[in-house]
Amino acid sequence: MRYALFLGCTVPVRAMNYELSARKVAEVLGIEFIDMEDALCCGFPVKSINREASIIMAARNLALAEKQGLNICTLCSACTSVLTEVNKVLIEDEELREIINKKMGDIAYNGKVEVKHFSRILYEDFGVDRLKTFVERPLEGIKLAAHYGCHYLKPSEIYDGFDDPEQPKSLDLLIELTGAESVMYQGRGDCCGGAILGVEEEIALKMTKKKLDHVKAVGADAMISICPFCSVMYEGNQKKIEKEFDTKYGLPVLYYPQLLGLALGISPDELGFKLNRVKAKGLLAKLNGEKVSA
């Protein structure tokens, strides 16, 4: 399995632990990542102000992967949604593809690339059963709250129904194969609010807070994220929310590859745990069989 690794903007700068753990896990599983040197931003940030610009940016990234003869693996859910959406449109609409190719000029896209999020690749292509055979260290005794985020599943018409947007299960199954328990909680499908953080911080943080409250209520040891911006909201802004709303969470937010990596027997250091803003010490101690005081 070989993929062009599309890092996007946020992961390589603000979520190096995500990138590090994804690369490490892929290496252990025998999944090869080839870096995309000339990749642009996926196009998501400009879709709101100019849809055409986002289409051309996404098309260029697709064309670059096609030139490498590889399918794309993404880590960020926003990148996933724009690249997948534009890919679908360009594959189906030959006329538009010609127009966009003309606009790109020096490179053309012929519709031969598939875009998938790393978690979807693990779930759908690598497979849960096969992943289980790689587990060296079952993570028993911990309760985790899966956060799917929005763009990983929606709009569902671009994702070929690989999971149900209202009642998803793919991430729960990925979590449970490690031996950990994936807990149900109220508002699992709720949005992190990240997309409007810059527009109206107060609303965005209240959206984030709502889910942190629900996750806290079920006593999860950590939240599992698969998108760097969702983590910015739940982990990066957790202290701010605690301060502004006079509350306390201390809830670690791990990227799924960090969790999987632990189950594969990789050390926390190699998985970038030191870069997590909310330290997962309690969770790691629990896994080591140490008694944790609350």
Binding site: V13, C41, P165, A195
Partner: protein, 166 residues
């Protein structure tokens, strides 16, 4: 403020319907499923997708395009998934934003993002500091070029939106 009939633009809905993402707006039968499931509306009543759609259908062009609420959609797609009329509301909000920008109204948060892309070729600066940190972790060096992004921005007129060096 009550609606002023002489200020309505009856063609606004057609402009929206001819903009990518807005095609299905006239299908709306105002059931309110969008608003009922909206996580932003849950926090702040200023954002109300059913109301926005109705304002567009009535022709309240200025009130919609100059509003702050068109920028409040968090693009979670909950409404789009549930809309029985396939209005694809998230894409519709994108269409409204695109039109607002063409009419000269843009939220500064989006100007800032476009400006960062023009300046760094990424939403965030990727310089010596970032690459040193990456190197220490054993991650490959990262280079982001701006040339192609700027070319694309220019080809669609986004270069005018981008703010110069602050």
């Amino acid at each position: 403020m009550p609606i002023k009939l002489d200020k309505l633009d009856p063609n606004f809905k057609f402009l929206v319907a001819s903009t990518p993402g807005g095609e299905n707006i006239t299908r709306c039968f105002a059931c309110g499923t969008c608003t009922a499931g909206c996580p932003v509306r849950d926090i702040d009543e200023r954002y109300n997708p059913r109301k926005i759609i109705h304002m567009v259908l009535l022709g309240m062009k200025d009130e919609v395009l100059k509003s702050d609420f068109v920028w409040l959609c968090s693009a979670c797609y909950t409404c789009s998934e549930r809309c029985p009329q396939e209005v694809y509301i998230t894409e519709l909000m994108t269409a409204l934003r695109n039109i607002a920008v063409q009419e000269g109204y843009i939220h500064p948060a989006f100007t800032a993002q476009a400006s960062a892309l023009a300046k760094y070729g990424s939403l965030y600066e990727v310089g010596e500091f970032e690459n040193k940190k990456r190197g220490n972790l054993g991650l490959p060096e990262l280079q982001r070029k701006t040339e192609k992004t700027l070319e694309i921005f220019k080809s669609v007129g986004l270069d005018k939106v981008v703010q110069e060096e602050k």
